[in-house]
């Protein structure tokens, strides 16, 4: 049977799509599978979690793990802690994380905006070396700074405070934020500010009334990325914090894993809670993340 040209083309396209969709499905299983497994386990009862072979989805979904880590089920927490675990209420840690990350994000953009402006709009001899210096600082591994900064913080008595984390995190968020913002500022045509100068603005007024409003998307994206970076941070958090006074959610989540035994329903419920804000934020700033990656200017 001879098919018409149109049918042949349609069939070929359908076949192509089918193949691509199969490949995409495999990719999704690889990328999302572990996340699915985390969510699914956090909703399983203890009995179901230890099924062999495992259940692929919670047959009897329960929020007991979330109730437990939010402190609504002290009996369960006491019971698992009696078996050598250190499960505790995650609320204060979540609050610490939010506090830390919001402070970091605000401090970061406040420091980074003026610096970024200087690279985008002023001509000065040290412009390039300074920008490169920021770039280099961005690549310094956190571990290099952990000991010396620890000594500094101990000297000024800031160990185990949110302030200490804010101080340290900005060291890493500021350089990449300057980088991102200056490249965003450069995309805003300078003619707009020139028009404002002719219209009677000084340089500062023009920057505030014309450039900043136009840079809002870039500033929001930078804010979110700084927030995400400090939310996810672990090394400093685990080194500089000792109590729920300042411990962040990543530290608490990791502490749920015992040496001998682990209640992965509780651990992964904490994992889900720690991942949720970055997931949502990542989807919001997706476009900027992609642009930032492409410029090689983001923390990987």
């Amino acid at each position: 049977m001879r098919l018409s040209r149109k049918t042949r083309l349609a069939l070929r396209k359908a076949g192509r799509n089918a193949v691509l969709l199969c490949l995409a499905a495999i990719a999704m299983i690889y990328l999302i599978g572990p996340v699915y497994w985390m969510v699914s386990t956090s909703l399983m009862t203890e009995k179901e979690m230890f099924q062999v072979p495992p259940h692929w989805y919670p047959h009897d979904p329960s929020f007991h793990a979330y109730r437990a880590i939010f402190g609504f089920n002290p009996e369960l927490v006491a019971e698992v802690n009696a078996r050598g675990l250190q499960v505790q209420n995650i609320m204060p840690a979540l609050w610490n994380s939010i506090k830390t990350s919001v402070f970091v994000a605000f401090a970061t953009i406040l420091i980074a905006i003026p610096a970024a402006y200087s690279f985008a709009r002023l001509r000065f001899r040290l412009s390039l070396p300074l920008l490169m210096a920021y770039m280099m600082l961005r690549t310094v591994p956190s571990i290099v700074l952990v000991v010396p900064v620890f000594m500094v913080l101990r000297t000024i008595g800031l160990i185990d405070t949110t302030a200490s984390l804010v101080l340290v995190y900005c060291t890493f968020t500021v350089p990449f934020s300057i980088w991102l913002l200056q490249s965003y500022f450069k995309t805003i045509p300078i003619e707009l500010e020139e028009a404002a100068w002719v219209d009677g603005c000084g340089q500062l007024t023009a920057a505030i009334r014309i450039m900043l409003p136009l840079a809002v998307p870039g500033i929001v994206a930078t804010f979110i990325l700084a927030f995400m970076a400090s939310w996810s941070e672990f090394l400093y958090a685990v080194t500089f914090t000792k109590t729920l006074n300042s411990q962040t959610v990543t530290v608490i989540a990791s502490s749920f894993i015992g040496i001998e035994a682990a209640r992965f329903d509780l651990v992964l419920a904490a994992g889900v809670l720690s991942s949720l804000p970055p997931f949502i934020l990542a989807l919001i700033v997706q476009r900027y993340i992609v642009a930032g990656f492409a410029a090689g200017s983001l923390k990987g």
């Binding site: 003619e191 707009l192 028009a195 404002a196 100068w197 002719v198 219209d199 009677g200 136009l214």
Partner: protein, 358 residues
């Protein structure tokens, strides 16, 4: 009242010299057009008038007041940018009001002035829109509106029409011109388009490579180009140019090119000892009878119809000449014709100095 006096102006970026020793006087209420190829420094000059570029040396004064080192906001100028530079986050009304607001004009007056300007430009129904919701022509109007509400002494235009399509450009050309008559202010207008310059200017300033080549009324520049550059830059299609030397033929002083084309000697004899460049516009080249004295024999190579006129490209000796005649069918491809430049409109330039000699 607003005269502009530019004296001994220099501009350099680092080691790159944009221009030196530029002098220009613009009279009150004059419409001056700076025209020249890209990179000639015309936009830089305009931006220096606005205060957007630093002056390396020299002075600029408005009405006798030295403004050389004044910031843009302290000069009473308005500028229309090439890409309009409308504030994307403000409505049309806010865009037009911004300059007034920055200068502390009262709200009532702002409203009244914006409404008036919008009326003049036909923007009344678009006042609440944002720039992105407007067409190119409307944006262009808003940019002009933003300038005129301020009623400054000096209006600066940086190629404001170059982003419009050809038809709209012709309309806007007339509109800018009538705006000038209505506003009674000094206009300085930059363009690379010689037609725009010719049609709009009271006086045009032809620039090239950072120097002013000629200043004059459009027809004066067209009829008496001061040098080879102006001759070739103004007028389309471009003027025919032939290198030639004084010589004698049949006992008469003539000008002769290497390949034997001869032209009458310029009337005033000065400076004709060395090489010359003979120029005549395509419009001034005519088909003549074979036995007309001075007729040049040529072969028709290409015929182009533009609609209004017909362009005939002929080869004479080693030169390719362009001749513009009234619209007509021309079938004589490859045939020989005799052509003769109109002696009254033949231009002579010194080969070394490139300056006009007759």
């Amino acid at each position: 009242m607003a005269t502009i006096e530019i004296s001994d102006l220099h501009k350099r970026y680092g080691a790159v010299e944009i221009f030196r020793n530029l002098n220009l006087h613009v009279q009150d209420k004059e419409f001056v057009v700076l025209v020249g190829p890209s990179g000639c420094g015309k936009s830089t000059l305009l931006r220096m008038l606005a205060g957007l570029e630093d002056v390396t040396d020299g002075t600029i004064s408005f009405d006798g007041t030295d403004v050389t080192d004044l910031k843009p906001k302290h000069r009473d100028v308005a500028m229309v940018f090439q890409n309009y530079a409308l504030y994307p986050h403000m409505s049309v009304a806010k865009n037009m009001a911004f300059g007034l607001r920055m200068r502390g004009v009262t709200n009532a007056e702002i409203e009244q002035r914006v409404a008036a300007a919008a009326g003049v430009l036909g923007l009344t129904e678009y006042l609440e829109r944002h720039p992105r919701e407007l067409s190119g022509g409307q944006r262009q109007r808003v940019a002009m509106g933003r300038a005129i509400v301020r009623t400054p002494q000096v209006f600066l235009f940086d190629e404001p029409l170059s982003n419009l399509d050809a038809l709209l450009r012709v309309d806007m050309r007339a509109e800018v011109k009538s705006l000038h008559q209505r506003l009674n202010a000094t206009f300085v207008y930059v363009t690379h388009d010689q037609v725009e310059a010719m049609t709009m200017a009271d006086r045009m300033v032809v620039m090239n490579n950072g120097t002013i080549e000629q200043v004059g009324a459009p027809l004066q520049v067209y009829d008496k180009p001061a040098n080879v550059f102006v001759a070739s830059f103004i007028g389309s299609p471009a003027m025919n140019m032939i290198r030639a030397k004084p010589s004698v033929a049949n006992g008469q002083k003539v000008i002769r090119s290497d390949d034997g084309l001869t032209f009458p000697h310029p009337k005033n004899n000065t400076g004709c000892e060395g090489g010359l460049i003979v120029g005549f516009r395509p419009r001034d080249l005519n088909v003549v009878d074979k036995d007309t004295s001075g007729a040049i024999e040529a072969k028709v190579e290409i015929v182009e119809h533009t609609g209004v006129e017909t362009l005939v490209y002929v080869r004479a000796g080693s030169h390719k000449l362009c001749m513009s005649i009234d619209k007509q069918e021309w079938s004589g491809l490859g045939e020989s014709v005799c052509v003769l430049p109109d002696p009254a409109n033949t231009h002579y330039f010194d080969e070394t100095t490139k300056q006009r000699v007759g």
